[in-house]
């Protein structure tokens, strides 16, 4: 089912996902469910939409994810959410 050997980039994505789930475990039960829902939805959506060969964009998402994970780890933070503003202009 899973591919025989994961590439370095795939390993990074998976370890980021694991990091998010581990950070979520340290929060309260309700917050944990909400964080897990948002994070798994985002990862699943990106895995379907983003081209596997688009390394530039994947690295950009990984970097952004690492920063968001650092913010999530701080004790005051209770969750994450996002909303999109209008549509792309160009």
């Amino acid at each position: 089912m899973a591919p025989p050997r994961l590439s370095g980039m795939q390993k990074q994505v998976l370890s980021l996902y694991r990091g998010f789930l581990r950070a979520a475990r340290l929060k309260s039960a309700d917050d944990r469910k909400q964080i897990e829902a948002v994070v798994s939805a985002e990862f699943r959506r990106n895995s379907n939409q983003v081209d596997r060969k688009n390394f530039v964009y994947i690295e950009y998402l990984l970097n952004r994810g690492k920063k968001q994970l650092d913010q999530l780890k701080s004790p005051g933070v209770v969750g994450l959410s996002s909303f999109s503003v209008g549509g792309g202009q160009r």
């Binding site: 688009n54 964009y57 920063k67 792309g88 202009q89 160009r90």
Partner: protein, 244 residues
């Protein structure tokens, strides 16, 4: 007097489009002399989506560092070459993650700067509780070290930093490490030197490539500071051995 500007563009909101060089044509008679003036004009009149960092416009903040015609400098101090036949290439700092257009991710750079502890550390209290005194000769030793504006031009021009950004501190952080080692008021000189040299990666990945000195927009000499720091370390190690 029309000059062509080829500027690197990439938008994360449009990820399917690969990064490309977009051409802009600007009338130089109606524009300020520096590259930053040209960027401002393009952003104001042609394409407001062009993204770059800028702040002081006088070469002191280090925000507008980018690669202009192959050299890393700050855009506000780099005059535009008026030759209309050659296009001016503006790209982000090399081998850095691009956030959008000319903006790069400098968090690793700032964390490395933080890791050398760039503040005064003393073991004694100041005399009369006022300030730590320093003679003019000792203050002169800091000239050429304290002017660093942390623009990241030198660090992103170093091939050794390109290949090992997590381990090698880079010329800017090492310049600052030497600045604090050199400061006569600071009393943790040995600890600072030991912190930078305890593993081979932080300081000794420098191979004296000297790209840093060539590219510094403030004409500083990080390669020289690194060389002096290596000399300080090697001479101090020798003293320990001869005593035992």
């Amino acid at each position: 007097m029309s000059k062509e500007f080829k500027i690197y563009r990439w938008n994360p909101d449009d990820p399917t489009r690969k990064p490309f060089l977009q051409s802009f044509f600007l009338d130089l008679t109606d524009c300020g002399p520096m590259v930053l003036d040209a960027l401002q004009k393009i952003k104001a009149e042609v394409d407001p989506g062009l993204t770059y960092r800028r702040s002081c416009r006088e070469g002191i903040c280090g925000s507008c560092a980018m690669n202009i015609d192959g050299t890393n400098t700050v855009a506000c101090l780099e005059p535009i070459d008026p030759d209309p036949a050659k296009p001016l290439f503006i790209t982000p700092l090399p081998h850095m993650f691009v956030i959008k257009d000319l903006v790069v991710d400098l968090t690793n750079f700032y964390q490395q700067y933080k890791s050398i502890e760039p503040w005064l550390k003393t073991k004694r209290r100041p005399e009369e509780g006022r300030e730590y005194r320093q003679s003019p000769e000792d203050r002169k030793k800091l000239d050429g070290l304290y002017e660093c504006i942390l623009c990241a031009c030198c660090t992103t021009s170093c091939p050794s930093y390109w290949w090992n950004p997590e381990e090698f501190l880079g010329p800017a952080s090492l310049l600052h490490a030497y600045r604090w080692i050199c400061d006569s008021r600071d009393e943790y000189t040995e600890e600072r030197l030991q912190a930078v040299t305890e593993r081979m990666q932080k300081l000794y990945r420098c191979r004296a490539i000297k790209n840093c000195t060539a590219t510094c927009p403030k004409s500083l000499n990080p390669a020289d500071a690194i060389h002096k720091m290596k000399a300080k370390h090697l001479t101090s190690v020798h003293v320990e051995k001869s005593e035992s």
